[in-house]
Protein backbone atom coordinates (compact mmCIF):
# COMPACT_ATOMS: atom_id res chain seq x y z
CA UNK A 1 0.00 0.00 0.00
CA UNK A 2 1.42 3.35 -1.05
CA UNK A 3 1.30 6.48 1.13
CA UNK A 4 1.92 6.89 4.83
CA UNK A 5 -1.56 8.13 5.77
CA UNK A 6 -4.20 5.51 5.14
CA UNK A 7 -7.94 5.24 5.56
CA UNK A 8 -9.59 1.95 6.41
CA UNK A 9 -13.02 1.09 5.11
CA UNK A 10 -15.14 -1.97 4.78
CA UNK A 11 -16.74 -2.51 1.43
CA UNK A 12 -18.90 -5.17 -0.15
CA UNK A 13 -17.29 -7.13 -2.93
CA UNK A 14 -19.29 -9.11 -5.45
CA UNK A 15 -17.91 -12.62 -5.61
CA UNK A 16 -19.20 -14.39 -8.75
CA UNK A 17 -18.89 -17.93 -7.28
CA UNK A 18 -20.72 -16.96 -4.09
CA UNK A 19 -23.56 -15.37 -6.10
CA UNK A 20 -24.03 -18.41 -8.34
CA UNK A 21 -24.33 -20.54 -5.24
CA UNK A 22 -26.88 -18.17 -3.72
CA UNK A 23 -24.34 -17.05 -1.16
CA UNK A 24 -23.79 -13.57 0.24
CA UNK A 25 -21.20 -11.15 -1.04
CA UNK A 26 -18.03 -10.95 1.00
CA UNK A 27 -17.09 -7.94 3.03
CA UNK A 28 -13.47 -6.97 3.15
CA UNK A 29 -11.45 -4.20 4.72
CA UNK A 30 -9.05 -2.25 2.57
CA UNK A 31 -6.63 0.56 3.26
CA UNK A 32 -6.16 3.48 0.91
CA UNK A 33 -4.04 6.62 1.02
CA UNK A 34 -6.22 9.49 2.26
CA UNK A 35 -5.19 11.82 -0.54
CA UNK A 36 -6.25 9.48 -3.34
CA UNK A 37 -8.21 10.81 -6.33
CA UNK A 38 -11.98 10.42 -6.64
CA UNK A 39 -11.70 6.85 -7.86
CA UNK A 40 -9.26 4.35 -6.48
CA UNK A 41 -8.38 0.92 -7.71
CA UNK A 42 -6.84 -1.96 -5.78
CA UNK A 43 -6.13 -5.59 -6.54
CA UNK A 44 -7.32 -7.91 -3.82
CA UNK A 45 -7.42 -11.67 -3.88
CA UNK A 46 -7.64 -11.82 -7.66
CA UNK A 47 -10.36 -9.16 -7.86
CA UNK A 48 -9.95 -5.65 -9.15
CA UNK A 49 -11.65 -3.37 -6.64
CA UNK A 50 -12.77 0.02 -7.86
CA UNK A 51 -14.54 2.20 -5.38
CA UNK A 52 -15.41 5.79 -4.64
CA UNK A 53 -13.40 7.67 -2.06
CA UNK A 54 -14.73 10.27 0.35
CA UNK A 55 -13.60 13.07 -1.98
CA UNK A 56 -15.72 11.71 -4.82
CA UNK A 57 -18.74 11.35 -2.52
CA UNK A 58 -18.33 15.01 -1.60
CA UNK A 59 -18.35 15.88 -5.31
CA UNK A 60 -14.75 17.03 -5.44
CA UNK A 61 -13.64 16.46 -9.00
CA UNK A 62 -10.00 16.06 -9.78
CA UNK A 63 -8.72 18.12 -12.69
CA UNK A 64 -6.34 16.70 -15.25
CA UNK A 65 -2.85 18.01 -14.79
CA UNK A 66 0.02 18.63 -17.12
CA UNK A 67 3.37 18.74 -15.43
CA UNK A 68 5.82 21.02 -17.15
CA UNK A 69 9.29 20.34 -15.89
CA UNK A 70 11.50 22.42 -18.14
CA UNK A 71 11.97 26.09 -18.92
CA UNK A 72 8.66 27.97 -18.74
CA UNK A 73 9.51 30.20 -21.72
CA UNK A 74 7.75 28.02 -24.29
CA UNK A 75 4.72 27.58 -22.06
CA UNK A 76 4.49 31.34 -21.70
CA UNK A 77 4.77 31.77 -25.47
CA UNK A 78 1.93 29.28 -25.94
CA UNK A 79 -0.21 31.11 -23.40
CA UNK A 80 0.46 34.43 -25.09
CA UNK A 81 -0.56 32.95 -28.45
CA UNK A 82 -3.69 31.45 -26.90
CA UNK A 83 -4.60 34.79 -25.37
CA UNK A 84 -4.00 36.58 -28.67
CA UNK A 85 -6.05 34.11 -30.71
CA UNK A 86 -8.89 34.20 -28.21
CA UNK A 87 -8.91 37.99 -28.33
CA UNK A 88 -8.93 37.96 -32.14
CA UNK A 89 -11.74 35.42 -32.08
CA UNK A 90 -13.80 37.68 -29.87
CA UNK A 91 -13.18 40.64 -32.18
CA UNK A 92 -14.78 38.69 -35.01
CA UNK A 93 -17.48 37.30 -32.78
CA UNK A 94 -21.13 38.02 -32.22
CA UNK A 95 -20.52 41.68 -31.36
CA UNK A 96 -19.23 42.32 -34.88
CA UNK A 97 -21.52 39.97 -36.77
CA UNK A 98 -24.87 40.57 -35.17
CA UNK A 99 -25.86 43.84 -36.92
CA UNK A 100 -29.05 44.24 -34.89
CA UNK A 101 -29.91 47.66 -36.35
CA UNK A 102 -29.79 46.33 -39.90
CA UNK A 103 -32.41 43.71 -39.03
CA UNK A 104 -35.05 46.28 -38.05
CA UNK A 105 -37.79 47.40 -40.42
CA UNK A 106 -36.42 49.88 -42.93
CA UNK A 107 -38.45 52.91 -41.69
CA UNK A 108 -37.22 52.28 -38.16
CA UNK A 109 -33.60 51.97 -39.35
CA UNK A 110 -33.97 55.29 -41.17
CA UNK A 111 -35.58 56.90 -38.12
CA UNK A 112 -32.74 55.72 -35.90
CA UNK A 113 -30.18 56.99 -38.42
CA UNK A 114 -31.79 60.42 -38.23
CA UNK A 115 -31.38 60.28 -34.44
CA UNK A 116 -27.70 59.44 -34.95
CA UNK A 117 -28.13 55.76 -34.06
CA UNK A 118 -26.43 53.59 -36.66
CA UNK A 119 -24.52 50.91 -34.80
CA UNK A 120 -25.60 48.13 -32.44
CA UNK A 121 -23.70 49.76 -29.58
CA UNK A 122 -25.52 53.07 -30.05
CA UNK A 123 -28.88 51.29 -30.34
CA UNK A 124 -28.29 49.23 -27.21
CA UNK A 125 -27.20 52.27 -25.21
CA UNK A 126 -30.30 54.19 -26.30
CA UNK A 127 -32.51 51.20 -25.64
CA UNK A 128 -31.19 50.83 -22.11
CA UNK A 129 -32.26 54.41 -21.42
CA UNK A 130 -35.70 53.66 -22.77
CA UNK A 131 -36.10 50.19 -21.27
CA UNK A 132 -38.19 51.21 -18.21
CA UNK A 133 -40.57 53.18 -20.44
CA UNK A 134 -40.83 50.35 -22.91
CA UNK A 135 -41.55 47.99 -20.01
CA UNK A 136 -44.32 50.26 -18.76
CA UNK A 137 -45.76 50.49 -22.26
CA UNK A 138 -45.75 46.68 -22.57
CA UNK A 139 -47.46 46.36 -19.18
CA UNK A 140 -50.19 48.86 -20.02
CA UNK A 141 -50.82 47.44 -23.49
CA UNK A 142 -50.62 43.83 -22.31
CA UNK A 143 -48.59 42.99 -25.39
CA UNK A 144 -44.95 42.83 -26.26
CA UNK A 145 -42.98 42.57 -29.47
CA UNK A 146 -42.65 38.93 -30.46
CA UNK A 147 -40.68 39.37 -33.63
CA UNK A 148 -39.33 42.25 -35.63
CA UNK A 149 -37.70 42.28 -39.01
CA UNK A 150 -37.77 43.63 -42.51
CA UNK A 151 -41.26 42.10 -42.83
CA UNK A 152 -42.68 44.17 -39.98
CA UNK A 153 -43.53 43.78 -36.31
CA UNK A 154 -45.50 40.98 -34.65
CA UNK A 155 -46.92 41.27 -31.12
CA UNK A 156 -47.82 38.64 -28.52
CA UNK A 157 -50.12 38.75 -25.48
CA UNK A 158 -48.55 38.80 -22.03
CA UNK A 159 -49.60 36.96 -18.91
CA UNK A 160 -50.67 38.83 -15.77
CA UNK A 161 -47.38 37.98 -14.05
CA UNK A 162 -45.40 39.31 -16.98
CA UNK A 163 -47.40 42.54 -16.94
CA UNK A 164 -46.68 43.06 -13.24
CA UNK A 165 -42.97 42.37 -13.73
CA UNK A 166 -42.73 44.76 -16.65
CA UNK A 167 -44.77 47.39 -14.77
CA UNK A 168 -42.56 47.19 -11.69
CA UNK A 169 -39.45 47.52 -13.85
CA UNK A 170 -36.78 49.95 -12.86
CA UNK A 171 -39.17 51.85 -10.62
CA UNK A 172 -38.87 49.10 -8.03
CA UNK A 173 -36.07 48.74 -5.44
CA UNK A 174 -35.01 45.62 -7.36
CA UNK A 175 -33.37 46.57 -10.67
CA UNK A 176 -35.44 45.68 -13.69
CA UNK A 177 -32.83 43.45 -15.27
CA UNK A 178 -32.68 41.28 -12.18
CA UNK A 179 -36.40 41.00 -11.59
CA UNK A 180 -37.50 40.24 -15.13
CA UNK A 181 -34.49 38.37 -16.44
CA UNK A 182 -34.24 36.27 -13.29
CA UNK A 183 -37.94 35.41 -13.49
CA UNK A 184 -37.60 34.44 -17.13
CA UNK A 185 -34.66 32.14 -16.60
CA UNK A 186 -35.90 30.69 -13.29
CA UNK A 187 -33.39 32.54 -11.20
CA UNK A 188 -31.48 30.23 -8.87
CA UNK A 189 -30.04 27.76 -11.36
CA UNK A 190 -29.27 30.50 -13.82
CA UNK A 191 -27.65 32.81 -11.30
CA UNK A 192 -25.46 29.96 -10.12
CA UNK A 193 -24.41 29.23 -13.68
CA UNK A 194 -23.65 32.87 -14.42
CA UNK A 195 -21.64 33.11 -11.21
CA UNK A 196 -19.65 30.01 -12.07
CA UNK A 197 -18.82 31.03 -15.63
CA UNK A 198 -18.17 34.62 -14.65
CA UNK A 199 -15.71 33.48 -12.05
CA UNK A 200 -14.00 31.18 -14.52
CA UNK A 201 -13.73 33.95 -17.12
CA UNK A 202 -12.47 36.47 -14.58
CA UNK A 203 -9.85 34.06 -13.30
CA UNK A 204 -8.64 33.39 -16.82
CA UNK A 205 -8.38 37.07 -17.76
CA UNK A 206 -6.47 38.05 -14.63
CA UNK A 207 -4.25 35.02 -14.83
CA UNK A 208 -3.26 35.74 -18.41
CA UNK A 209 -2.35 39.27 -17.49
CA UNK A 210 -0.47 38.62 -14.29
CA UNK A 211 0.62 35.02 -13.93
CA UNK A 212 1.11 32.97 -17.08
CA UNK A 213 1.73 29.75 -15.18
CA UNK A 214 -1.43 30.22 -13.13
CA UNK A 215 -3.17 30.80 -16.44
CA UNK A 216 -1.91 27.47 -17.66
CA UNK A 217 -3.68 25.82 -14.76
CA UNK A 218 -6.82 27.79 -15.56
CA UNK A 219 -6.77 26.68 -19.21
CA UNK A 220 -6.33 23.08 -18.15
CA UNK A 221 -9.07 23.22 -15.55
CA UNK A 222 -11.43 24.90 -17.98
CA UNK A 223 -10.95 22.05 -20.47
Amino acid sequence: MRGAVVRRETIAVEVPEAQSQGGLNREITVETPKDNGPMSSEEFDGFQLVYETERARQGIQEKPEIILTGNSERAEQLLARYSEERERMYEGSVRERFQFVQKLPRPLTKGLALAGIETDGQALAAFLELAPWVGTLYAVAGKRVKSIGRGGVEFEDMTGVDRILYAVGDWSPVPFSQSVAAAIVKSDAFQEEVRRYDEQARRAVYAFKSEPLAALRTVISAV
Binding site: I66, I67, L68, T69, G70, R74, A75, L78, R81, Y82, E85, R86, M89, Y90, S93, V94, R95, R97, F98, F100, K103, L124, F127, L128, A131, V134, G135, R144, V145, K146, S147, I148, G149, V153, L165, Y166, F176, S177, V180, A181, I184, V185, K186, F190, E193, V194, Y197, D198, A201, R202, L216, V219, I220, A222, V223
Partner: protein
Protein backbone atom coordinates in the same frame (compact mmCIF):
# COMPACT_ATOMS: atom_id res chain seq x y z
CA UNK B 1 -33.55 27.48 -28.74
CA UNK B 2 -35.30 28.95 -25.69
CA UNK B 3 -34.79 32.14 -23.70
CA UNK B 4 -33.09 30.06 -21.02
CA UNK B 5 -30.66 28.66 -23.64
CA UNK B 6 -29.82 32.18 -24.76
CA UNK B 7 -29.18 33.23 -21.17
CA UNK B 8 -26.96 30.21 -20.58
CA UNK B 9 -25.04 30.79 -23.80
CA UNK B 10 -24.59 34.38 -22.76
CA UNK B 11 -23.14 33.29 -19.44
CA UNK B 12 -20.67 30.98 -21.18
CA UNK B 13 -19.71 33.27 -24.05
CA UNK B 14 -16.26 34.89 -24.33
CA UNK B 15 -17.87 38.34 -24.13
CA UNK B 16 -16.54 40.81 -21.55
CA UNK B 17 -18.58 40.89 -18.34
CA UNK B 18 -19.93 44.39 -18.95
CA UNK B 19 -21.42 43.39 -22.28
CA UNK B 20 -22.95 40.28 -20.78
CA UNK B 21 -24.66 42.39 -18.13
CA UNK B 22 -25.92 44.72 -20.82
CA UNK B 23 -27.44 41.88 -22.80
CA UNK B 24 -28.91 40.34 -19.70
CA UNK B 25 -30.80 43.58 -19.09
CA UNK B 26 -32.09 43.54 -22.63
CA UNK B 27 -33.34 39.96 -22.71
CA UNK B 28 -36.89 40.86 -21.62
CA UNK B 29 -37.20 43.46 -24.36
CA UNK B 30 -35.51 41.94 -27.38
CA UNK B 31 -37.97 40.27 -29.76
CA UNK B 32 -37.60 36.51 -29.70
CA UNK B 33 -36.59 36.09 -33.33
CA UNK B 34 -33.63 38.42 -32.83
CA UNK B 35 -32.85 36.99 -29.41
CA UNK B 36 -32.72 33.42 -30.70
CA UNK B 37 -30.52 34.40 -33.62
CA UNK B 38 -28.22 36.08 -31.11
CA UNK B 39 -28.26 32.92 -28.97
CA UNK B 40 -27.20 30.78 -31.94
CA UNK B 41 -24.32 33.10 -32.71
CA UNK B 42 -23.23 32.87 -29.09
CA UNK B 43 -23.30 29.09 -29.38
CA UNK B 44 -20.96 29.26 -32.39
CA UNK B 45 -18.59 31.49 -30.44
CA UNK B 46 -18.59 29.14 -27.46
CA UNK B 47 -17.83 26.20 -29.77
CA UNK B 48 -14.93 28.09 -31.34
CA UNK B 49 -13.45 28.92 -27.95
CA UNK B 50 -13.76 25.28 -26.89
CA UNK B 51 -11.91 24.21 -30.07
CA UNK B 52 -9.18 26.73 -29.36
CA UNK B 53 -8.83 25.45 -25.78
CA UNK B 54 -8.53 21.86 -27.01
CA UNK B 55 -5.90 22.88 -29.56
CA UNK B 56 -3.79 24.56 -26.87
CA UNK B 57 -4.33 21.76 -24.42
CA UNK B 58 -2.81 19.39 -27.00
CA UNK B 59 0.09 21.80 -27.46
CA UNK B 60 0.69 21.88 -23.70
CA UNK B 61 0.57 18.11 -23.49
CA UNK B 62 3.11 17.83 -26.32
CA UNK B 63 5.34 20.33 -24.58
CA UNK B 64 5.11 18.42 -21.30
CA UNK B 65 6.01 15.21 -23.12
CA UNK B 66 8.98 16.85 -24.85
CA UNK B 67 10.21 18.21 -21.53
CA UNK B 68 9.82 14.84 -19.86
CA UNK B 69 11.79 13.11 -22.63
CA UNK B 70 14.51 15.77 -22.45
CA UNK B 71 14.73 15.20 -18.70
CA UNK B 72 15.05 11.43 -19.14
CA UNK B 73 17.68 11.93 -21.83
CA UNK B 74 19.57 14.27 -19.51
CA UNK B 75 19.57 11.66 -16.77
CA UNK B 76 20.84 9.00 -19.19
CA UNK B 77 23.63 11.30 -20.43
CA UNK B 78 24.72 11.88 -16.86
Amino acid sequence: MTIEDVAKNLARSPMPEEEKTLWLKLIPFVPKNILFEFGEMLETDIGNVEKLKRKYLRAFKNLAEEQRLAEVKGEIDL
